[in-house]
Amino acid sequence: MLVFRASGEWVVAAVSGVDRQLRDIDAGHGRVKQAVFDLGEVTRFDTSAAVILSRCAYALEQGGARIEFRNLNEAQSLLLDKLAQDGPPEPVEKHDVGLYAHVAGNMGDAVLAVSRETVGIVEFLGDVVAAVGRTIRRPARLRWVPFVYHMERAGFDALPLICLLTFLIGAVLAQQGATQLAKFGADYFTVNMVTIVFLREVGLLLTAIIVAGRSGSAFTAEIGSMKMREEIDAMRTLGLDPMDMLILPRVLALVVTLPMLAFVADLMGLLGGGVVSYFMLGMSPGLYIDRVRDAADFWTFAVGIIKAPFMAALIAMVGCRAGLLVTGSAESVGQQTTHSVVRSIFLVIIVDAIFAMFFTAVGV
């Protein structure tokens, strides 16, 4: 016969130690014929104490012991009854997988995720193109107010940042070019380098990356929190298409504003190069402009700007789609926002590389 005599405070903060001892009791079959739990001297008794006691009693009972509780007060017996009603404590399930299986599983999941993602992006691209088609047939469908609003937010409001950064990069490029090219006595070609590099690649790439970080992420977070609060479902039930209401205005606004931003970025980059040329090479502004004109023709400029609408569409679509993929939790908004920025910068650079190959092939 086993007698447990409990005393003092049996509360959640104190049960840890007792629990160890109770678990160590060997309830092997037939070892204990009778077990008595005497709670006469217990001053406080809460659910966690009841949980561990009833678990212990259950294990003993399974081993063939007769269980008896003594000196229970009303609340204690109610509590133990309630736990008994809920049935025997279920073993807590543990999923332990080996390290290798875990790594392999993660890799498999990642591969599947990439393939699902690719299909998803293509599908979404199709949806957007279809929506653009509908809008071209009936331009009145376009939501002009959000369209203009997003042009202001994603375009106009980004101007100070883009101006400052491209001016600085232009200046740094010129300064580095001047120092390096001076070794070959070719420091006057600094202007050619800055002009071509900026107009063809850097101006637009910088702008696209800034916009992806600034507006792509905002699109995801905005649409994501609307999704979370069921606003998107509400729109659908009111007969409004989220594609028309939310996505198209954002995509079109970015498609219109990114080329303009890239144009401003080009100007500011050349200005930065000009300022450095004036101070480091003593080149007068008039001469600088002449040399820029010699170095670049229309196509040098066009090659940069042509890419802009494509990148804009990519950034906006990736951002909006990530927003729609948000599920119920706040964590998922953060995750999707990160994904959206990473993905759009990645895609911007890929698209830039593809265009570079294309323009080389056609010889501009």
Binding site: V11, V15, S16, T47, V51, I52, A75, L78, G328, S329
Partner: protein, 258 residues
């Protein structure tokens, strides 16, 4: 418990609350006795939830003082207050579960943060609380976004009960539950009160809950608690709002059942 508080576990003295020009409470007094279930009722915008938040210390009172467990918690240093805060549990309206954690992990948060406990025991206690709250055992590993509204409430209750609190604050616990679920919830609260000796402070609109489990009811109107008493006291009151509330068609139906 310090002298002079008697059996009152919560005492609100002369509470004043305003948002800009909008005065919500003015000189509001309320006493909650140890071991009772008190229901707070009142029309929309009478500051029921604000009162709850103020007692919990989530909002500073603009005027007046609040004593919980016989202490003025708002004047206490942070660390000391934490010890008192562990002695209450709160169920927010939509459960307010942490969305990045599973139900079981949500219930274990207080164990992890406040107690040194082994993982096995935490799992076991969490599972027991979750089942006490009326959720199936397989709900433990689900995330809040995978639960229905009613299940989220029950999971929130399980978390509120994790440390076996002395006071349980409930903000509209049965709103959004089906009648069977709501009745089961009432019964659960009643059970918990009897087995754990809980004091329950409940903001509610549910007449059935008021009849079924509340020992006393406090009515908030005109910036104050205009009446505190049992259901019988409410039924004989001739205040127009209270009369309307307890004699309306829904109230009659609830009365018939009880």
């Amino acid at each position: 418990m310090s002298a002079g508080t008697g059996d009152n576990i919560i005492e609100v003295e002369g509470l004043g609350t305003r948002f800009g020009d909008n005065v919500i409470h003015e000189n509001l007094d309320l006493q909650v006795k140890r071991g009772e279930v008190i229901g707070i009722v009142g029309g929309s915008g009478t500051g029921k939830s604000v009162l709850l938040r103020t007692i919990l210390g989530l909002k500073k009172p603009d005027q007046g003082r609040i004593r919980v467990f016989g202490e003025y918690l708002q004047d206490m240093p942070e660390a000391e207050r934490r010890a008192y805060e562990r002695r209450w549990g709160v169920l927010f309206q939509d459960g307010a579960l942490f969305s990045a954690l599973t139900v079981a992990q949500n219930v274990q948060v207080p164990y992890r943060e406040h107690l040194h406990m082994e993982a096995d025991l935490m799992d076991e206690l969490a599972a027991a609380k979750i089942r006490m709250s009326g959720l199936p055992a397989n709900a433990c590993s689900l995330y809040p976004s995978e639960l229905s509204g009613g299940m989220r409430k029950r999971a929130g209750l399980a978390r509120a009960l994790a440390l076996d609190p002395e006071i349980l604050f409930l903000d509209e616990p049965t709103a959004g539950l089906d009648p069977i679920g709501a009745a089961a919830f009432d019964e659960l609260i009643g059970d918990l009160k009897r087995t754990l000796g809980l004091t329950v402070f409940m903001v509610t609109h549910d007449l059935d809950s008021l009849y079924a489990i509340c020992d006393r009811i406090a009515v908030l109107a005109e910036r104050q608690v205009i009446l505190v008493g049992t259901v019988e006291d409410m039924l004989v009151s001739d205040h127009p709002w209270i009369h309307e509330y307890f004699h309306g068609p829904r109230a009659r139906a609830a009365l018939k059942e009880s």
